[in-house]
């Protein structure tokens, strides 16, 4: 699968041949830092001063590299496809080789960073419960009414929320039965076939 680079993208990366081999390594490092920690304008300014090029050009070049690396890692394109995709930029063989090396060295890490960006639903943290029996109320004396009170603690992106629920034992047993049925589905042939194929 080939990457199609837009004209703007190509223009941004166009400054790379001018800066020389060592500088390309430096820009590559800046691109990876940006992926790991976010944009760092001061680092770009320092690089611009060292290489004697405009800050904007450096920034575009770093962003161009970031986009190239993330798109390639996202699609997990092969070496050959990567080389063919950047061939259109018309760079020297040496530059192409360093870009390829940059991609291959870091694609696993980039993929794990991209994996963490997916949105997450609230997940289970813990469950507190309590069993009560209501013996009397203002309206009615001499009762026996059991109730289970639960506090479900959930985690969502480092936010902790809690949900309080109350039910009688019969409904709770029904709930447990439904959940056990859901777990039982995993053992059915249909699920087994899919799990086998995914492995």
């Amino acid at each position: 699968m080939l990457l199609v680079l837009s004209a703007e993208h190509r223009a941004h990366l166009g400054c790379l041949p001018r800066v020389g081999g060592a500088a390309v390594g430096e820009l590559g490092r800046l691109a990876l830092e940006q992926l790991r920690r976010g944009a760092a304008p001061r680092a770009c300014e320092a690089a611009a001063r060292k290489l004697n090029i405009g800050v904007d050009t450096i920034q575009h070049a770093v962003e161009g590299l970031v986009y190239l690396l993330t798109e390639s890692s996202k699609l997990m394109i092969s070496e050959v496809d990567f080389q063919d995709s950047i061939h259109v930029l018309g760079f020297s063989d040496e530059l192409n080789k360093s870009l390829l090396q940059l991609y291959l060295d870091n694609r696993k890490e980039i993929r794990s960073i991209l994996g963490e960006l997916a949105p997450r639903l609230p997940s289970y943290h813990s469950l507190e419960w309590r069993l009560d029996v209501q013996l009397a109320s203002r309206s009615l004396r001499q009762q026996i009414k059991p109730a289970v009170t639960m506090k479900l603690h959930l985690n969502q992106n480092e936010d902790q929320t809690a949900q309080v629920l109350q039910t009688d034992p019969a409904t709770l047993l029904h709930l447990i039965q439904q959940l056990e049925q859901a777990l039982g589905e995993m053992k059915m042939n249909h699920c087994r076939r899919i799990v086998r194929n995914m492995k």
Binding site: E128, W129, R130, L135, R138, R141, T149, K151, V164
Partner: protein, 200 residues
């Protein structure tokens, strides 16, 4: 096989696995580690460096040290939860393979000393949604108002201080009642007390 300290259920596999780690520690050091774990369960700070020093002789890795703390935590809190006496706990731990008589009996002696404080602490930590902290009151006497020149009515102000367990904050709920309403409230409360007494 059912164990009382596990709530009459099977002992969890990970507990069985870690009993052999406990056996590697000398019984004297085990009792000291127990004391630290009990401090943690009772809400005081645990001194992790002391535990590391105590386990250094047995040459346990850091994962094993954490597992030791976890299994002791489980045994002590679960035994308190199911109100197991220290004799039964000792015999059940020996059935699980806690080898020497000193290990099991030392552990159970520490447990016995702290059993009731542990149970009090667990009772206090039980699920509680809100809790009445205190009630403050004031009685005013209204002399006159813009509507009527001679009012001469008593007025009761109550403030219920409620602790919301969810956000751990005290909330003040102010209520103002006329004398008659207040008498109704008191009558209802008295009936509630009677009902609580007779329903047991």
């Amino acid at each position: 096989q059912r164990f009382r300290f596990c709530g009459d259920l099977d002992c969890p596999d990970w507990v069985l696995a870690e009993i052999s780690t406990l056996a590697k520690i000398s019984s004297v050091k085990l009792k000291l580690i127990c004391a630290q774990v009990l401090r943690d369960l009772l809400g005081e700070a645990i001194e992790y460096e002391k535990i590391l020093k105590l386990t250094s002789d047995a040459k346990l890795e850091s994962g094993d040290v954490k597992a030791t703390i976890a299994v002791l935590s489980f045994i002590l809190s679960s035994a308190a939860k199911h109100n197991v006496d220290s004799e039964s706990l000792s015999s059940e731990l020996q059935q699980l393979g806690l080898p020497k008589v000193e290990h099991a009996s030392g552990l159970c002696r520490s447990y016995e000393e702290k059993q009731s404080s542990l149970q009090d602490r667990l009772r206090a930590c039980s699920l509680r949604l809100s809790q009445l902290g205190s009630v403050r009151w004031r009685v005013d006497y209204t002399l006159s108002s813009s509507e009527l020149q001679e009012v001469n009515e008593p007025l009761v102000h109550l403030t219920f201080n409620v602790r919301d367990r969810e956000c751990e904050r005290m909330m003040a709920v102010p209520v103002t009642l006329s004398a008659n309403k207040f008498r109704v409230l008191l009558a209802g409360e008295a009936q509630g007390r009677v009902a609580a007494g007779t329903s047991m």
